[in-house]
Homo-oligomer: 127 residues x 4
């Protein structure tokens, strides 16, 4: 089966690698080109929501056709991320889990619950 619960990141990387190799596309898969490709597909994903309000965007993804389009664009972004990890032999799982560990310290729960930036220091804190 091919759901996220059963599929390893490694097996997705292998499927992408086989697709790229069968077409001899490795020469095109330079770090520069792949980083551009990730950004290009990220923009196509954004385009699904370009003129929608936040509420309209939430409603849109409940529509089957729109959901399929968003899924398609997200897949494109991820496929290029997998290609870059293959081209550079970067382990995605360690990278993601390592970054989340760092982020535990950069964004302590007690300071960042419900907010994305530290509150400005109260004047009283300076006494």
């Amino acid at each position: 089966m091919t759901t996220d619960a059963e599929t390893t990141v490694g097996s997705l990387r292998k499927t992408v690698a086989a697709f790229v190799d069968a077409r001899d596309w490795q020469p095109f898969h330079t770090p520069k080109n792949l980083s551009m490709s990730i950004a290009i597909e990220a923009a196509e994903l954004m385009e699904r929501f370009q003129w929608l309000t936040t509420e309209e965007a939430q409603a849109a993804v409940d529509d089957a056709a729109e959901r399929a389009a968003v899924t398609d664009e997200l897949a494109d972004v991820i496929i290029y991320c997998l290609s870059l990890s293959n081209a550079l032999e970067l382990d995605i799982s360690s990278a993601v889990l390592g970054k989340l560990q760092n982020n535990e310290h950069r964004y302590p729960v007690n300071e960042f619950r419900g907010r994305f930036r530290r509150p400005e220091r109260e004047k009283s804190d300076k006494t």
Copy 2:
């Protein structure tokens, strides 16, 4: 262990979900904001290669410090992709494998080996 060979996409999604939930960040994780975030991090990844030639870029990722920086930015892109899949309950593995299947037909090996676009039709094909 946390390498791609042993880590399921689902376990990465769960770790990201726990991080977001602990901080009550779900209200910020709208489809619009997350698609912008993926694009923002994709640009930070591109920035590693902004002024480098293709050869300089390939050499850069052999340097440990630069490799760590690229890994960090790629992790950021992927973490937001995982957040979007959580927010929209999209199965990444089916999306990626489904898209690669479609791409098998859009980019047949015999037509696309070593090239990224179909060759222009020879004039003789029009007779």
Copy 3:
């Protein structure tokens, strides 16, 4: 004076060109690098609004410090656009006015007033 009412696009292009030339930066200003640079700066501009609701974003730009930050990022995007027009010797004014002319036909006022896509055809239109 340096306001938009008195400043020609050409004079802005010349000022950017002088800045680039003084630093012998033309070899870095390839079409690929400049297109990446425009996208990188566009992402930094988006970052100002990343987690804000539409209303919060509108309010933010009324704050002097935030307005200055947005202005700074928009300037960066435009400076790279001017650099690309210099590198490729493209006339921006003709390009913009030509595209707006095409858009007059692609987005006729009577069909697109208050909307960004054509309404779906009513069934009665098919009789």
Copy 4:
């Protein structure tokens, strides 16, 4: 005439404003949507060079059809920049000239001629 030598930034802004106003598109032109739009069009511009080497990209823009496509995408980026300056009432010329002035100090010619980052300090500087 409509070349950069004779066209003020202000006149381009007015033409864009008239186009947007005729279609009652101002409600869609929020800072968030416009910053997303600039990034979306920047990615379409990058797409022209996605798989080309630097040399192939330089050659491509000598082809009339490709040059027109690049011009079209650059125009789209700039049109959204002009829309954002209109929506926020930001003077582009002062922003650009001000940023270049700041950059004169951030990137002094004697340190940045022919390079985009400061050279690493020689060990001898630490004695």
